[in-house]
């Protein structure tokens, strides 16, 4: 089990805001573990740029351009006997617009009694735009290299099914990759992978701990398939977080959806809980070996 965490979520699920707030939080934290951007200077520049906008100008990051891709990675390291030990590494990719959904969860349009799937994973790769193939390869290699995953779940997604479909597709990729890697049969349960389902924006919708009930409603396919079928029960856990804090004020858009106004003082809650859990998972795994 390596210590790489792959972060996934649909567009606007709060991945970037979470990483930026986490970056600020860990930077200020006077702990043994230190944020380490060695060989990841681009990520530091990207996160610190957005952090400046968020903390000083009180502006939420804009949606990334369609079909653009940006790797965001950092290590949490500590000094042990004159060597730098990486406790864990967080890695994700910021994709623009609906690109991730296009790649992993095709759109289905049943209007005019016609089924249009754009694009479908059954379409041969050579018929897809070349940038899609490269992006899919990048994501697949992240899945292959990671032993832990964080799924960001948006309580206010564009379409319930789309988010579930997307996370279920990523989950399938994780199951396939790990079964293949460990030479397991297709009905084998995967033992050495941990998944944290993180319900974001709990300031907008939730201030209670009925996280599992909400996940059952929002992403039944992905949540149940992970928690009850293909992974070890204790290695799948739910969390709820707010990156901006419970003092965040909300506005309602014309379509009825809510959006946040960045508060003067950003007070994230629970954002380090998934990391603590991952750290424990890595330690458990090392001890078991």
């Amino acid at each position: 089990m390596n210590n790489k965490v792959g972060l996934f979520g649909t567009t606007s699920s709060g991945k970037t805001v979470y990483l930026v707030v986490l970056y600020e939080y860990l930077n200020k934290l006077k702990a043994e573990l230190v944020l380490d951007f060695k060989n990841e200077e681009d990520s530091e520049a990207y996160l610190s740029g957005i952090a400046q906008d968020l903390y000083e100008k009180k502006v939420l990051p804009e949606m990334t351009d369609r079909r653009s891709i940006r790797k965001v990675a950092f290590n949490l390291s500590r000094q042990v006997k004159n060597t730098v030990e990486t406790v864990f590494r967080m890695e994700t990719y910021d994709f623009g617009g609906d690109t991730l959904l296009d790649i992993f969860a095709p759109n289905l349009d049943l209007s005019n009694n016609q089924i249009v799937e754009i694009p479908n994973e059954n379409i041969p790769d050579e018929n897809k735009p070349s940038e899609f193939i490269n992006m899919k390869k990048t994501i697949n290699s992240l899945i292959e290299e990671s032993s832990s995953f964080m799924f960001m779940v948006d309580p206010n997604p564009i379409g319930r099914h789309k988010q579930d479909r997307f996370l279920a597709a990523i989950l399938n990729q994780i199951i396939d990759t790990n079964q293949k890697k460990n030479r397991l049969k297709s009905n084998s349960v995967i033992e050495n992978v941990s998944i944290a389902f993180v319900l974001t924006k709990s300031d907008l919708y939730y201030n209670n701990q009925h996280t599992e009930r909400e996940l059952n409603k929002l992403i039944p396919q992905s949540w149940k398939r992970a928690k009850k079928l293909y992974f070890v029960k204790d290695r799948v856990k739910s969390f709820y977080i707010t990156s901006l804090g419970y003092n965040t004020k909300n506005e309602t858009a014309e379509d009825g959806s809510k959006y946040a106004i960045v508060p003067d003082i950003i007070q994230p809650e629970n954002i380090d809980e998934p990391l603590k859990w991952f750290k424990k998972q890595f330690a458990d795994y090392r001890n078991r070996r």
Binding site: L110, I115, R165, A168, N187, S188
Partner: protein, 264 residues
Amino acid sequence: MDRRVRIFGIPQAGKTVYLSVLFGEIDRYGFENYILDMRDHADSMDYLSMVLEDLVLQGSTFSTPERQFKELNMKLSYQEDGKVKTAALISTYDLSGEDINIIFDARFHSQIRKSIIPPEFKESQKKIMNMLYTGDCFILLVDPNPIGSTFDDQDTMFTIILRIIKKNKGKRKSQKDKRYGIVEGIKIAFCISKSDLIDIPDAREFVEQKMPFTYKYLEINFKNNFKCIPISSLGYNAETRQYPMKENIRPINVLEPLRFFLDK
């Protein structure tokens, strides 16, 4: 345990609506210890979700485009001893308009007329036959208010289906024996769909009266290993006898066939 459930019925009998509602019910509220596992059936998941969304949000049913054959699958699984085990694989097909009639029409099953099946249906027919040969539990969906067809049409179609099953699974003394005996180990749920539209005091009596050939065939050849279940995918509305709109969908008895199949 691994049950292979197949759903059959005339066009507009409510196969897609039933499967979509079943998908929605199990997805949302669960079913015993089983989990809906659409890992290998992402296409079906998309399709069923969209039909369900159409039903819930717009209160309308989706009618399948002409000349389209879509196989729909849904798997119920559970975790045991480090393995994911399948409890049931539920399959049906989505065919439009009269396409299914052409495929199941009695005259096409005589040796003489086999050659006149339109070529575009041959592939679909092959898939449907494969479903019949490989299934061990069958949901036969009866439309109590058939539009554009009659109870006789349904009676004929179900008798053909049962004959095919008997020919495939019926006991024989030897490979050469042409007499097929009683079918064992096959469960048939005779489901009267849209049961909210008419009064059905006794489901078994209803099937016996409306589809006498099918009923007798079942009694004789399937060792009474069948059950008649009135279901309503959309919900009962005694006052208006109309389809419920939007969020008022309250399925009745939709899980009963599965309980019957999974009952040891």
